[in-house]
Assembly symmetry: C2
Homo-oligomer: 196 residues x 2
């Protein structure tokens, strides 16, 4: 759009974002340059800072600016509980519940061989070693309840069982606040089997 190389370069750079096509990229570039140059500067600075400062926690693999993240280095957390999640966003959702006081292992993805994400990329051996370190009493699998998340949980579960560890999985069931009529049948079936 336009004869400006700088605008064209910005559109191409925005197009690299997931879920952003050429139209969205053009709209974003137009908005930033026409209505929100301050926003463009803020975003440039935030990108620069995050790309240089953010690394992975040595213990749980989540994003952090430090060698060990705040949760892993918090002595008040119960180091006998280890919750396995796919992403920092999932970890954040667990934290917001306020119902969990243990530690995490963040896979930073899910098993997806077509995308080149295998057990090595997710650090599963490190997870297995951690689970068998004598400190961990319980491994809670909290990967997503999608096909890929379930497959990931299954592979981790098998690996742990070979080491004599039996992990737990988040309960499947009817979401809080929902009406049975609108819940899918697979969920109701699971809730029925797991009734308590």
């Amino acid at each position: 759009m336009s004869d400006s190389n700088a605008v064209e370069a910005l559109v191409q750079a925005l197009k690299r974002l997931p879920g952003v096509g050429i139209r969205s990229a053009q709209r974003m570039a137009f908005h930033l340059l026409q209505h929100d140059r301050a926003g463009a500067q803020v975003l440039a600075t935030a990108l620069q800072a995050a790309a240089t400062e953010v690394q992975h926690c040595e213990r749980c693999h989540t994003f952090t600016e430090h060698a060990i993240c705040a949760i892993c280095s918090d002595p008040r957390r119960d180091s006998g509980l280890l919750c396995v999640v796919e992403t920092p966003a999932d970890q954040s959702a667990m934290e917001r519940t306020g119902a969990y006081r243990g530690l995490y292992f963040v896979l930073m993805g899910k098993l997806s061989p077509l995308d080149g994400l295998g057990p090595a990329e997710l650090g599963l051996n490190k997870l297995f070693d951690r689970a068998a370190d004598g400190l961990v009493r319980e491994v809670i699998l909290a990967t997503n309840f999608t096909a890929e998340g379930e497959a990931t949980a299954h592979v981790i579960s098998e690996g742990l069982r070979q080491r004599g560890i039996k992990p737990t999985r988040l309960a499947r069931g009817v979401p809080v606040g929902s009406e049975l009529e609108y819940v899918d049948l697979g969920t109701i079936a699971h809730a029925l089997v797991d009734r308590r």
Copy 2:
């Protein structure tokens, strides 16, 4: 997401982009930091460059790194034709047709009083002066065929008529390659009235 301030700042900055909510912003931040740090650097550089270098062409108002854009300063263009478009993306669409060799006036928006975009913000007085400069033979209104684009075209048309200039408007009609059955009735009605 995560305890990283840098990641949180990045998510907030991405959320300022049009059409990007908290979930998309988190997904973008995760993608950039986990899979495409080079992309993050490229985007930061492109934003920085565009925000500092890109200005508006003094003649047509489109984005450019120069005082006068490449099209306005091209002596081979027909300076007797002035095409009024809403955005650089629309201008780019006109250019790609290869069917237009005149000049442009880019409104950089459309009349939208609720967003604070009035005739002054779109530079309509400058457009009227330009249309009456003796060089321009024809003003072609190529704003979008949306309610706001039509209103903008109407206001410009009225302003030009007060100065004794009768602008033309892009033809409304059936899109090339479409089947009548699937074209909306308003479009068919217009195509019928404007038949040639």
